[in-house]
């Protein structure tokens, strides 16, 4: 599988197709032939997440097309251009909220990432640095409560209720987000308002705060309503919430928008990401079928305990890079059971792991959120630039996460249980 993947990459085949090729040869080498059922079943793994990607991006593209994004950025700059610190805290909250509510860093990047990137640009922060800030905060937003998919999927895998995670996730996510933006944004200057407003695209005349905020308010209302009155309302699901927001911004747009064209362009824009998700699903399925997944899991959890702690901060991001959320059931479950067996607090340990996991979203082969961020920010520099600026915050995050695991027993009071 690995050899096929490398050969495919050398032959300049895209990452997505290289993974698909690796899955096919994995099946052949594993003696299961080309198992149509398993290939297609694997392709289904992330269907719901793909729907979220498509609908959220469609919503943002409509908003951009209608001039809403330009309007918001101009508004933020006019109000806060002098106060860097307040702007940073505000930006952190704006980036944390979408991912925290939905559990997906991609939603943060897609919803607020683009706008924040423009604001940071006018503070003199380079695009790779901006991308690094947005990527790390998007990761923290995904790990932040109330919805942290890694913690939820692992907890579900070990039949542990998803309770007691709120503070153990919130405190590190908030703290690490602020540290990241203040470190990477330290060279940022207060915005030169006049220059910025001149350069920014003009918003259409009829654009106003109601037109921009109403779709967001509807989205927020649907998310909150589902949580406040979960038993009085039907399950709507994130994709339909985004579609509702998209239709409202389409209706309120002061400029005419070709919905069909923007939909087609959105699907094409997302092709590498959707393709990666689909091919990762196929690869994981074949790895499980042939026993490769088990081999990886057993090798990891049977390392000496000290080695598990030391390598945790590398193993988790790498597993995320290869398997994405699939890393939670593959590695999260055996690791949490291992920690539980040796007397650590599984909630704090899992929270610590959940903070480290999202770092893998910038790493190849998938690099889903990293690539999405680079794309959203409009970074022209090589992708490695983004990774370079992620190093310092990543090291801090890894240290905090690992310490949370090691000292989980002493930190157990955070669970409030």
């Amino acid at each position: 599988m690995v050899v096929t993947y490398i050969i495919a990459k050398v032959l300049k085949v895209s990452t997505e197709l290289s993974m698909f090729a690796a899955a096919l040869t994995g099946g052949l080498a594993g003696g299961v032939g080309i198992p149509a059922r398993h290939i297609v079943e694997g392709a289904f793994t992330y269907l719901d997440i793909i729907l979220i990607f498509i609908t959220a991006t469609l919503f943002m593209n409509i908003l951009k097309e209608s001039g809403g994004v330009a309007f918001v950025v101009r508004g933020i700059l006019k109000k806060f251009f002098r106060r860097k610190s307040i702007l940073f805290v505000l930006i952190s909250l704006l980036l944390l909220l979408p991912g925290a509510l939905t559990g997906a860093g991609s939603v943060t990047v897609l919803i607020t990432g683009g706008m924040i990137a423009v604001v940071l640009g006018y503070m003199g922060i380079s695009k790779p640095k901006t991308a690094a800030i947005i990527f790390i905060l998007a990761g923290m937003s995904a790990a932040a409560p109330p919805v942290s998919l890694w913690a939820m999927l692992t907890a579900a895998g070990v039949n542990m209720p998803y309770v007691g995670f709120f503070l153990p996730l919130l405190i590190p996510c908030l703290f690490l987000s602020l540290i990241t933006i203040f470190i990477l944004g330290s060279r940022g200057k207060p915005v030169n308002l006049e220059k910025a407003l001149k350069e920014l695209p003009e918003a259409p005349q009829k654009m106003n705060w109601i037109r921009v905020s109403l779709p967001f308010l509807v989205f927020l209302f649907l998310v909150l309503a589902g949580r406040i009155w979960p038993h009085s309302l039907p399950v709507v699901g994130l994709p339909m919430m985004f579609m509702a927001a998209a239709f409202i911004s389409l209706l309120l747009s002061p400029v005419k928008i070709n919905f069909l064209k923007i939909s087609r362009d959105t699907v094409h824009q997302l092709l590498p990401l959707i393709g990666t998700l689909t091919c990762v699903g196929i690869l994981v399925q074949i790895m499980t079928l042939t026993g490769v997944r088990g081999l990886i899991a057993i090798t990891t959890v049977t390392l000496p305990l000290v080695a598990v702690f030391i390598t945790l901060c590398l193993v988790l991001p790498v597993s995320e890079a290869v398997l994405m959320w699939g890393a939670a059931p593959v590695l999260g479950v055996p690791l949490v059971l291992l920690f539980n067996t040796i007397g650590l607090n599984p909630i704090i340990a899992l929270a610590g792991m959940s903070v480290i996991w999202p770092l893998g979203d910038a790493l190849p082969p998938t690099a889903i959120i990293g690539r999405l961020t680079a794309d959203t920010v409009g970074m022209k520099e090589p992708y490695s630039e983004l990774l370079k600026y992620c190093i310092i915050p990543a090291v801090i995050i890894m240290a905090v996460g690992t310490l949370m695991v090691i000292f989980s027993k002493k930190l157990a009071f955070f669970t409030l249980l």
Binding site: M152, A156, N159, V284, G291, P329
Partner: protein, 387 residues
Amino acid sequence: MSWLYLRKFTLIALGLVLMVFAGVSFFESRHLKEPVVLSRGVTQVKKLSAYFPGVKGTISDSNIYVLEGAKPGGTILILGGTHPEEPGSRLTTWILTENAVADQGRVFVINSANRSATTVTRLGGGYPPDFTIHTKWGEQKFRMGDRWSNPLDQWPDPEAYIHYPSRQELAYVDIRNLNRAFPGRANGTLTEKTCYALIQLIQKEKVDIVIDLHEAELQYPVISTIVAHEKGQNLAAMASMMISGTEGFSIGMEYSPPALHGLSHREIGDHTQAISLLLEAPEPFLDATRGRTDRRLLLEGKDEFVVKAGKHGLLFEKMDENGWPIEVRVGRHCSTILQILELWSEENPEKSVIVKGVPRYAEVIEKGIGNFLHDPAKADPKRVYYE
């Protein structure tokens, strides 16, 4: 230009071939008919919708096999297929419905408590679509299922699942997990409605004990055990002691945690008059460290990676090269059910449930499961039902 179209056509054709093969496989496993040849002890076959019309016409309208003794006594309900990826659970109910006869009291058996989940396999799990049990008259094929209801029957999922009525937050996928949706809601999702229907059945039929059959990965601490609601602690503790002394295997006993919501052992006990017990048998097929995922592992329960995990002290149940064959797992369930009934009947003579015809642990291992499955081709067609 023509080359471009030829290439496009070829690629689309290849994609279609893949899709057709997979589609046929999905269709076949969703619609595979599993025969149940009724034991002479089965006096009625009801539908779950008889207790809650909200599931009528849905895939959740499962068969309920009723065994009634000549003498009045207590009532017990046995749930198989709450998690259909745990085949030992469903196979045990097959043995009961095809062999058991009640002398006193009533036994209700459901082979597919979450019937929707029997029609789908886990994404990314590499599960086989079905498995076969050898019998004297040929082979009987069963659907392999999933832990969660089929998205074809319940879609979409929310971004967070808030359990009713506790409001506990659970992983979003668990909104389709029957054993996280008890006590259910009349106007909820299909899975919640199924739970609600089961609760109605328990209340209307004045069920005394509910036994929910499961299997678990060996890396999961709740294994080889009876999980008991407060109301059933003495019964479970006694059963655990008796089994360990007489049946040739050990089974533990655990308390149902009050803070863990949606599970049958917690909510059925809390929301109905019944004692709720949940039985767990070891299934290495579910372990995250398992090697090749195939029918052999499912039925024989042998896996070298899981053995290695055991050697590193990572398992909560012993694991060696003999593995955990399906006969052992089903045999454990059969004996545990019988012990629970015997102890209950001793303690509550007026509510006795006396059942015969069900093999015990040693007999299931000796003769194999297939020995207790009957040939549908030779049976009276009126006595053959399908799951």
